[in-house]
């Protein structure tokens, strides 16, 4: 399972960077979305994938039996998803405002503040 995930994640990173290199700000934000999702999947995969073994401790014992899934990366991914959601919501509003004010969705037309 892990090699398949690795390939898929790699593909997502590549697609995200391709989109971010386009000139349209909408594609830029879609690229960012894809990039954060790829990173989340990477964390999820990096700790190893375990099927059907929730990290629950049976009653009357101090440690779970046998091999169980690592709960920490899942908690981490959950946090990262929430953060990415908030930030992307901001980014979507930002490009909308920017489009209204600059009247273009072309990054090449947003060079006034560059030096």
């Amino acid at each position: 399972m892990e090699p398949l995930m690795a390939v898929a994640i790699g593909f997502m990173y590549a697609a995200a960077i391709f989109l971010m290199l386009r000139r349209s700000i909408v594609k830029l934000v879609i690229g960012l979305m894809l990039l954060t999702n790829a990173a989340n999947l990477l964390i999820f995969t990096s700790a190893g994938m375990t099927r059907g073994a929730p990290p629950l401790i049976p009653e009357g014992m101090l440690a779970p039996e046998g091999v169980v899934a690592d709960p920490l990366p899942q908690a981490v991914v959950l946090t990262a998803i929430v953060i990415a959601f908030g930030v992307l919501a901001f980014a979507v509003v930002l490009i909308r405002r920017a489009y209204e004010i600059v009247k273009a969705d072309d990054l090449d037309k947003m060079k006034d503040t560059d030096t």
């Binding site: 990173a39 091999v67 981490v76 004010i101 600059v102 947003m110 060079k111 503040t113």
Partner: protein, 525 residues
């Protein structure tokens, strides 16, 4: 329980919450801003005294022992950074009372400022790598919103670059955390430091080191990753610019100091050259970029980049003295750079523009402002006996001791180029007479509490400038005791054992035993 470690994070969050409760009441928000930051200052000094007496102070959040819970830990570097954060927070809060108009205050300027300070403090104190990411995001989201308050065209354009590149940095950071967790199975930085030495794939450790370097390099605005900074820092209201200039890039630099002394000290023979030449090119490109500019805040923005080079050079030389010099540079730069931005705000008030060509005659009109600018600008250029001189002196001396002559020579040359830009501002703004086409018409007025247009209190803007200029002078005068402090930091950073023991306590032995018998190491596959 050591509440002083958690309070610098909790207090700004609390002030932010109080500010939000009084969303409609401008006076209450302004009062909270000053009072909250005063309290933050008191708490940060408390933390500093504790750290000064004991070396390391930790608190395990929620009572979960490290490495399982999140540890907040303050060593000398964190404590100094927290004190500086509180100082800048307080100064900016007072300055904002006069400089930030109601059109910004109505849309949550003060709550965002508190949130930003909470993020910065959290990043300085956390001992957990994923928690560091979270604080970075807290800080970033607050800074995004502050950057676009006002919604002018330039702000939007600047914000798109700022947001994109900072998010990219965050994703690289997150990716590196994921891979790191896959290798060592822990997120606690002290625990990672112990396990990374014994990690199976040392090649992978170097890859991770470079990923962290790129992620923090973008946030610290190091060469060649700094382009977002001069494209955005001159666009928001001046108090926001000053706050960003003082604190945000320094969080990136602090993180570089932290991970490369604690976790990636083994990779230094590979990454040292990258860091040294990155730092050198940062200095040179920053200062050359500034030479071409004729807009007050753009010049200063490029100089932020240039000064970041000195700090990273201090880390890259990797001797106790060099690191002490690097931290001295951070301290000096936070004070001086913030002050220069604050001064640019006052001159803009007085003459209605940031364009140097259209300004002039301020030496005659406001001699004390000229003195404050003179102190800060020449301190930035490294003229003795001001604060910048000692930062540069220590780094140069460390460079010569490490026999890095070329780099040291470049660092000195960059000092002269800095002087060029500062003299340019001095000549244009203070020395030459006011050009005739500047009628100085629009002394900005703001809506007063009774609804009429009033002139803002200029003394509320000059007071912070005076305090920071005096600080810069005092850092120069008391360079000797401060240098003692910096040497402690250098020693602490290069001997991470103390940090690791402070965080993990008795668990160090347990973890070391586990590392030696890897069969029983992990429950997960």
């Amino acid at each position: 329980m050591r509440p002083e470690v958690a309070l610098p994070v909790l207090l700004p969050l609390l002030s932010g919450a109080i500010s939000l409760l009084f969303w409609r009441s401008r006076p209450m928000q302004r009062f909270t801003a000053v009072a909250g930051n005063l309290a933050l200052m008191v708490v940060s000094l408390w933390l500093f005294t504790s750290v000064y007496q004991e070396g390391y102070v930790t608190i395990q959040m929620g009572g979960w022992e490290a490495p399982y819970g999140i540890t907040l830990v303050a060593d000398m570097l964190s404590a100094v950074m927290i004190v500086l954060t509180a100082l800048i927070g307080l100064v900016i809060a007072v300055y904002s009372l006069a400089s930030t108009g109601p059109d910004h205050e109505k849309f949550g300027y003060y709550p965002l400022m508190h949130l930003l300070l909470a993020g910065v403090s959290g990043a300085f104190l956390t001992g957990d790598i994923f928690n560091l990411y979270v604080w970075f995001e807290v800080m970033l989201v607050a800074s995004f919103a502050l950057l676009i308050l006002g919604g002018e065209k330039a702000q939007m354009e600047g914000a798109i670059k700022y947001v994109t590149l900072n998010l990219l940095a965050s994703v690289i950071f997150l990716t590196a955390i994921g891979l790191l967790y896959g290798m060592v199975g822990t997120l606690n930085m002290a625990d990672i430091a112990l396990r990374l030495h014994e990690a199976e794939h040392q090649g992978m450790v170097e890859v991770l080191a470079v990923m962290f370097m790129v992620a923090f390099g973008i946030k610290a605005a190091a060469f060649p990753l700094f382009f977002w900074l001069p494209a955005s820092y001159h666009t928001p209201p001046v108090a926001v610019s000053a706050l960003f200039a003082g604190l945000l890039t320094k969080v990136g630099v602090y993180s570089l100091f932290r991970v490369f002394t604690l976790m990636f000290d083994d990779t230094m023979d590979y990454t040292q050259d990258l860091l040294i030449w990155g730092a050198t090119l940062t200095m040179v490109t920053g200062v050359l970029g500034a030479a071409a500019q004729y807009e007050f805040r753009r010049i200063l923005s490029f100089h932020i980049v240039s000064q970041i080079g000195y700090m990273i050079l201090g880390l890259a030389l990797y001797t106790p003295l060099a690191i002490a010099g690097g931290v001295f540079a951070i301290m000096h730069n936070i004070v001086v750079k913030t002050n220069l931005f604050l001064i640019s705000g006052i001159t803009r008030r007085l003459q209605g523009t940031y364009q140097l060509k259209k300004m002039g005659g301020l030496y005659k009109e406001r001699p004390w402002l000229a003195v404050a600018f003179f102190l800060s600008a020449f301190s930035l250029a490294g003229i003795p006996p001001l604060s910048g001189f000692f930062a540069k002196f220590v780094i140069v001396r460390a460079g010569i001791e490490a026999e890095a002559y070329v780099v040291t020579g470049i660092a000195l040359a960059v000092g002269f180029m800095t002087l060029y830009s500062m003299v340019k501002i001095w000549n244009e703004v203070f020395w030459k007479s006011l050009p005739e086409d500047n009628l100085v018409p629009e002394r900005e007025t703001v809506v007063g509490d009774d609804g009429r247009m009033v002139k803002p209190n200029l003394w509320l803007m000059t007071l912070p400038v005076g305090v920071l200029a005096a600080m810069s002078l005092l850092i120069g005068v008391f360079a000797e005791p401060l240098m003692g402090l910096m040497n402690t930091i250098g020693e602490q950073l290069l001997n991470p054992q103390g940090y690791i023991e402070a965080v993990l306590g008795d668990n160090v032995d347990v973890i070391e035993a586990l590392i030696e018998t890897p069969a029983s190491e992990e429950v997960s596959p």
